[in-house]
């Protein structure tokens, strides 16, 4: 813990609750704007969903607002990643959306049109080109869409780098128990005054700001030993559109990611209403069976670890970035679901722009908490 407990009351222009990637990015942007920043993390920084996530930096097309935030964020990642330490394991591997059949090829073309209309370079692969690009995929796939600008990172190291670089005061090992308009109380009783409090507590944000529409959505991942070249791009199936990965039931989808280490990270699953963080064997099994349908040889790789994480899901799949309705100094930066590694940087930017009353690079309205919360 930094700071001297014997000192008089501590305060900061901005107190960020939560040292995940979203909290770190908010701290970074606020500090860059000249504000004094304190980050409070109850466990270790970068240890929440941020440590569990896949670290895929991806431009998405679910909605215009999602596209704008992900593409702003991806640009920021590309500008910043060069300065980060090697431990960030940046791998510019691109995303390859895999189409199993002709129906999914239609989705490839829809995506292609969407991205091209917005200036994102993409490339449609036919069956043969897909086979060349990813030799371990099952041979009868129809094709795919390559988005070469996407990449992969290791988020916890990005978190510690941002916090170090920006000079924020980091208090770790102590949680915030209450959060008010203009201050927080820590679990040891200390009260910290803040010009603005930012609730960036991820899936736990709802404990501090009751009533926000954020629900935990559990996910499983498996990592293998090192098999360099086994997977070359971040692979995601397009079949999830049919398997209803987007509805409210439990679902799995094929997702395989190359790590800079040569390891293969295998996902993904989504479960609502599950509280315990242990590995659920049946859903893990389903997830891996799905992976084996796409990459039969994946079953022969050695898995060294499995884990779970909770995404903070909102009803409209967009994060909450901005003041809590009816308050001036209590802000939210949460609800990033399965995209928070990507969108953390854009989130920090939009949050700081609002606090500092600067003009944001994209409209903030779609992300304001007021859209789904009332006083």
């Amino acid at each position: 813990m930094l700071g001297d407990p014997g000192m008089s009351r501590r305060s900061a222009d901005v107190v960020v609750v939560g040292g995940g990637i979203v909290g770190a990015a908010c701290a970074y942007e606020c500090a860059a704007g000249g504000l004094s920043v304190m980050v409070i993390e109850e466990s270790v920084v970068g240890g929440g969903a941020t440590a569990a996530g896949m670290g895929h930096i991806v431009v998405m097309d679910d909605s215009e607002a999602q596209f704008q935030l992900t593409s702003l964020s991806e640009k920021m990642w590309n500008e910043r990643v060069g300065a980060m330490p090697a431990g960030v394991e940046h791998l510019p591997c691109g995303t390859l959306w895999v189409a199993a059949d002709e129906e999914e090829m239609a989705e490839v073309r829809r995506k292609q049109a969407f991205y091209e209309a917005r200036g994102v370079p993409v490339e449609v692969l036919d069956r043969r080109q897909l086979e060349e690009a990813e030799p371990h995929l099952r041979k009868d796939m129809a094709g795919g869409l390559l988005v070469p600008g996407d990449s992969v990172v290791y988020p916890p190291v990005a978190v510690s780098w941002m916090l170090r670089e920006c000079g924020a005061t980091v208090v770790s090992g102590l949680g915030v128990i209450t959060l008010r308009d203009g201050g927080v109380t820590l679990s040891d009783g200390e009260v910290i005054q803040a010009g603005v409090v930012v609730n960036a507590a991820g899936a736990k944000a709802v404990r501090l700001t009751p009533g926000i529409p954020v629900a935990p959505r559990k996910g499983h991942l498996v990592i293998t030993d090192r098999y360099p070249g086994f997977v070359r791009h971040q692979l995601i199936e397009l079949g999830y559109l049919k398997s209803a990965h987007s509805s409210s039931g439990d679902s799995v989808a094929f997702n395989a990611q190359p790590r800079k280490t040569g390891q293969v990270l295998i996902g993904s699953s989504r479960q609502y209403g599950v509280e315990h963080s242990g590995v659920d064997r049946p859903i893990l099994s389903r997830m891996l069976r799905r992976a084996a349908e796409y990459m039969p040889e994946i079953t022969g790789l050695t898995a060294i670890r499995t884990w779970t994480g909770f995404r903070a899901a909102t009803p409209d799949k967009l994060p909450l970035i901005g003041p809590v309705p009816g308050t001036q100094r209590e802000w939210l930066a949460t609800g990033h679901e399965g995209l928070g590694i990507t969108t953390s940087l854009g989130t920090g930017r939009l949050l700081a722009d609002q606090i500092l009353k600067r003009t944001p690079p994209i409209p903030v309205e779609p992300y304001l908490p007021g859209r789904c919360m009332h006083e």
């Binding site: 270790v44 920084v45 099994s285 084996a292 079953t299 898995a303 060294i304 670890r305």
Partner: protein
């Protein structure tokens, strides 16, 4: 109907005794072990061992080469007898080929590694030191030195305890005789190993002096650490790195028993008697189990003496230099770990413990070096093929 009454994990002394206890009373028993053969650490390739003969006739079924994980076959009760591994304390040169663990060297020699004519330095702590030195000598090695970190006084106290157990004293004296003429240093340790492409020489701190010794291999181990991963995964309560059990050897999880080194390091007699009690209790034979309580108590007091006499000394924490590797899977140096506040932070920020050994080597080392506690346990207990994670239950 369930196929098994009792499933035992581990076919070392504890697991074998448990299996015998349960199977001889008619229970249907399955024993799983990840090694190619039964015997655990001590009875490796030891066909003459009477317990192995008894086990073969007990009616228990043995499955070797099989990693048990949290998807254990269905049974009424389980006995975890997963044993222990070595505590490795990093020192400069410990990653060179030819720098083995102490038990590691023993296991390798028992599985065919030839040492005839080779000069070997045997170092570390505890009774294993003499056992390994003696084995090496029997196989024709020139044991260049035996280097024990515990001081003479601590060892002498332990010797006094042994006097009360003549059988063990006899073993010790026999071992000492077999090592006649080998330099035996107490209160001493290997500081570093050197060589081009493999170990050629070690530097030892013997009392106040530095002694250099040419050698072909060095075997170093500082005692044992319980293999608690499976127990943790099953939700059993742990304390101080061991599985907590009640008088019946039952863990905090109903129907899950634990026996042997996994409940605390104490040697083969402790493992055997705990195993028998666990096996009998797991099969519902509490009365028979109870008769073994006094015998168990004796082994526990021996274990306490062992722990006191051979506790690794503080100086060993200074052996690893800034550039000495601590995590051998991910090549993380001590320097990279300085400043980290916990095992979890070290894992997240440096990849320490993220490799295939999953912290089995560096976890013990960092606990010793920095006092860090362990992280949560996630399946698989051991690296396994992806296909076996697809199965939701071992058959």
């Amino acid at each position: 109907m369930r196929r098994w009454d009792v499933v035992v994990v581990g076919a070392g002394p504890a697991g074998i005794a448990a299996a015998c206890g349960a199977a001889e009373s008619g229970a249907r028993v399955l024993v799983l072990d990840d090694n190619p053969a039964a015997g655990g650490q001590i009875w490796r390739n030891d066909a003459a061992q009477p317990w192995l003969e008894r086990f073969a006739e007990s009616g228990a079924e043995l499955r070797t080469g099989c990693v048990a994980t949290d998807t254990l076959p269905e049974a009424r009760s389980y006995v975890l007898a997963t044993g222990a591994r070595e505590l490795f304390v990093p020192f400069p040169g410990w990653t060179l080929p030819g720098a083995f663990g102490l038990g590691g060297m023993q296991a390798l020699v028992k599985s065919g590694l030839e040492v005839a004519g080779k000069r070997v330095v045997v170092a570390g702590s505890g009774p294993l030191l003499l056992a390994v030195a003696s084995l090496l000598r029997k196989r024709g090695a020139a044991v260049a030195a035996v280097v024990e970190q515990a001081g003479r006084t601590a060892m002498a106290e332990f010797g006094v305890r042994l006097l009360m157990e003549p059988e063990k004293l006899g073993q010790g004296a026999g071992l000492m005789m077999s090592l006649w003429g080998v330099p035996f240093y107490t209160g001493s340790w290997v500081e570093s190993a050197m060589g081009r492409g493999r170990v050629e020489r070690v530097r030892m701190r013997c009392g106040g002096r530095v002694v250099e010794q040419d050698c072909d291999a060095v075997a170093v181990g500082y005692g044992l650490l319980p293999n608690t991963e499976l127990a943790a995964l099953l939700g059993c309560h742990l304390a101080e790195g061991t599985v907590v059990v009640d008088e019946w050897q039952e863990t905090s999880v109903d129907g899950v028993y634990a026996a042997g080194e996994v409940t605390g390091i104490g040697g083969v007699e402790k493992s055997l008697v705990e195993g028998e009690i666990a096996g009998l209790a797991a099969a519902g034979l509490q009365g028979q189990a109870q008769r073994l309580f006094a015998k168990r108590a004796k082994t526990h007091s021996f274990a306490d003496g062992l722990a006191r006499a051979f506790a690794p000394r503080a100086e060993l924490r200074k052996l690893a230099q800034t550039d000495t590797l601590v995590c051998r899977c991910e090549d993380v140096t001590r320097g990279a770990l300085e400043g980290m506040k916990s095992w979890r932070e070290a894992k997240l920020q440096t990849r320490c413990g993220m490799g295939p050994c999953q912290g089995r080597v560096c976890g013990g080392a960092t606990r010793f070096l920095f006092g860090w506690g362990a992280d949560s346990m996630r399946p698989p207990v051991f690296p396994v093929k992806v296909e076996s994670l697809i199965e939701t239950r071992q058959s």
